[in-house]
């Protein structure tokens, strides 16, 4: 059989395997995305819907060039934007601080305990997200578990303001996203070759130097992967702030949801969504660029 037909057949097989999923994604992912992109540049209709005129002021309302006829620029949107960024970054940092050392501890366990620990990490997936978040209300609220316990111990006079704060939102996010951070970090820690650590010590490096020059760079792919997997959904998350954040702790996700469902201003909601996606895409682009360059640096030995 000639090489060409063999290649042709391989291509046909690939087409059959990838065809359905490509079709599905192009219809149900690309389609709505294109609609959103177009909507974000259309004017909002007076009673919902859109008017088909080019209208860049949706982005202006966020970034500072609002439509002078109807609105004045309100910095509340950009501040929600930055608050969301801050909460997402904080969530990434805290989950990383928790998962990184834990990954090392778990990777040193015997195989049986390792499997058990990994099972525990994935255990939360078996219960509904909403149920798990509402349990945090029971724990954090004014008459909740923590306040009652502290009051009965006599350590506090007034209940602590814990729920409906940024802190509660971050706590909830960390709680939800720990498994997402843990798994990629653990995968890279598990792969770490400990003879390299020995080699580093042998060459005179102390514990800190060995960590900084050998262990951390070698586990960086897992750290970067985990950070992205946590950052993206954390930035656009609306369930956690809706349940634990209250009215004062709006995040982008809530704002977008409001625009679509309550304010019925689809173009503005679409513009907000596009901005979120732009940030995510830029970060992903940086990550992928970095990863591929790392591979390009090292073509296989000749």
């Amino acid at each position: 059989m000639s090489g060409l037909t063999r290649r042709g057949r391989a291509r046909a097989q690939l087409g059959i395997l990838l065809g359905p999923v490509s079709l599905f994604l192009s219809i149900f992912l690309a389609g709505p995305l294109i609609i959103m992109m177009i909507y974000s540049f259309l004017a909002p209709g007076l009673y919902g819907g859109v008017e088909w005129t080019f209208y860049p002021h949706n982005f202006g309302r966020i970034l500072g060039f609002a439509d002078p006829e109807f609105e004045i620029y309100d910095p509340v949107y950009i501040s929600i934007f930055f608050r969301s960024l801050r909460i997402a970054v904080t969530t990434v940092l805290i989950t990383l601080l928790i998962c990184y050392p834990a990954a090392f501890q778990i990777s040193r366990l015997s195989d049986r305990w390792k499997a058990f620990a990994l099972f525990l990490i994935t255990l939360p997936f078996f219960a509904s997200l909403i149920v798990r978040l509402f349990i945090w209300i029971l724990i954090l609220k004014k008459t909740g578990f923590i306040n009652t316990a502290l009051e009965s111990l006599g350590w506090i006079d007034h209940p602590l303001e814990m729920i409906y704060t940024d802190g509660a939102v971050i706590l909830g996010m960390v709680y939800i996203f720990i498994p997402f951070m843990f798994l990629p970090v653990y995968a890279s820690v598990e792969k770490l070759d400990w003879t390299l650590v020995r080699a580093s010590q042998d060459l005179g490096a102390n514990g800190f130097q060995t960590f900084w020059r050998v262990i951390f760079p070698l586990t960086l792919p897992g750290v970067a992967g985990g950070s992205i997997i946590v950052f993206i959904p954390a930035l656009g998350n609306f369930v956690v702030p809706a349940v634990l954040g209250g009215a004062k702790s709006l995040m982008l996700g809530n704002l977008i949801e409001q625009q679509f469902l309550a304010a019925r201003n689809w173009p503005f909601g679409a513009a907000l969504s596009m901005l979120v996606m732009a940030i995510v895409l830029i970060l992903l682009f940086i990550y992928i660029h970095h990863e591929t360059r790392r591979d390009d640096d090292a073509p296989a030995a000749g």
């Binding site: 070759d193 490096a205 090292a298 073509p299």
Partner: protein
């Protein structure tokens, strides 16, 4: 103590077994390594040779005993504070660093000046024949090149002692042999002591000033390669190094009579009692049918197998008393070997003075 670069005193290390109990990896080892010495630790896997190496580099905590490097007690020092460097079995190059940064690692840690560091990295790479490859990554190199990088990295800080943990075991045969010669040359150039771990006896004999044969966490014999080969101190060393014909029996009037009934003549004039006689395969010759001198030892065997090995023939024979014997005969005796093959019988001769006697250990077996 000024003479030795490394001194181990009553070093003892046990490991707990998963099913309970302990295994003794090192049992009261005493060892002195001289300056500029190339010492090889040789033994089968699990004999404790790597543990012994790690007790010098600091990667195992001893149960008891002391380790001195250059007269200083380093027993309680962590690995990064010991003036020794290691070439690891799988090279252990840092995959995320270039060759230059791998080699310069020890200098970077020590905070060396950039310019001087670069000069030294270049010099170390030149020394192992890899000059100009600073910018490559380890995975872009072949196994032999990676081995050289590991070597350059370990010698750049001029350790007082270089430890090599089976560094050549992953290389193919030809490369391994040329690396053996190179290592030996490098050691002479650097003027530092090497402790080399291997399970390959040929490698040990080729490279070393002295060989320490380990088994069961104990040094069975430590001696020059020739002495290890010709005068093994016990049956383990005799059978582990090279091929050997061992005849266990009792000696009387200079003749060893084995339990099977074979008689081996020796040059020993006195002594009686249980003993083991050792004859290396190449100490045998094949008789040409002529008169055999009275003082020459002889052994009549039936031929079981004759193998051509390039340099000569290996005759696998068996005595009338069912004792298996291996003899190496030079290829120049082709006609005699052919005759033996045809008749299925041969008379092997040996010089009684070449027979080495080993005290039979009652505890062994």
């Amino acid at each position: 103590m000024g003479e030795s670069i490394v001194r181990l005193e009553k070093v003892r290390k046990t490991f707990p077994l998963p099913e309970g109990g302990t295994v003794t990896a090192l049992g009261n080892i005493n060892l002195d390594v001289a300056r500029n010495e190339f010492l090889t630790l040789l033994g089968p896997s699990g004999c404790g040779k790597t543990t012994l190496l790690h007790s010098i580099s600091g990667f195992v905590q001893l149960n008891s005993g002391c380790v001195y490097v250059d007269g200083e007690d380093v027993t309680d020092r962590p690995p990064h504070r010991r003036p020794v460097n290691t070439v690891f079995q799988n090279y252990a190059l840092f995959p995320h660093m270039t060759v230059g940064n791998n080699v310069g690692y020890a200098l970077d840690i020590a905070g060396a000046r950039r310019a001087e560091r670069n000069t030294q990295v270049g010099a170390a790479l030149d020394m192992v024949g890899l000059g100009g490859l600073e910018k490559r990554l380890p995975r872009q190199l072949s196994g032999g090149q990676q081995q050289r990088v590991a070597l350059a990295r370990a010698i750049i800080a001029r350790p007082k002692l270089l430890l090599l943990d089976e560094p050549l075991s992953a290389l193919d045969r030809n490369l391994r042999q040329s690396m053996q010669i190179e290592l030996k040359t490098l050691q002479a150039e650097l003027g530092i002591s090497f402790i080399f771990v291997t399970h390959d006896q040929e490698e040990a004999l080729t490279m070393s000033n002295r060989v320490a044969v380990l088994e069961g966490g104990k040094i069975q014999q430590i001696d020059a390669p020739l002495a290890i080969y010709n005068k093994p101190s016990n049956e383990f060393v005799a059978s582990f190094i090279g091929a050997s014909n061992l005849f266990r029996g009792t000696i009387e009037n200079g003749t060893v009579t084995t339990d099977d009934g074979d008689k081996i003549r020796t040059s020993a004039s006195t002594g009686t009692g249980p003993i083991t006689a050792l004859l290396r395969p190449e100490q045998f010759s094949i008789a040409n049918g002529g008169e055999i001198a009275a003082e020459t030892g002889r052994l009549d065997v039936s031929i079981r197998q004759i193998v051509f090995s390039g340099a000569g023939y290996e005759i696998h024979g068996r005595t009338d008393n069912h004792h298996d014997v291996v003899a190496s005969i030079a290829a120049t005796h082709q006609a005699l070997v052919a005759g033996a093959e045809a008749s299925r019988k041969a008379t092997l001769t040996y010089d009684p003075a070449a027979v080495h006697l080993i005290a039979t250990e009652g505890a062994r077996s």
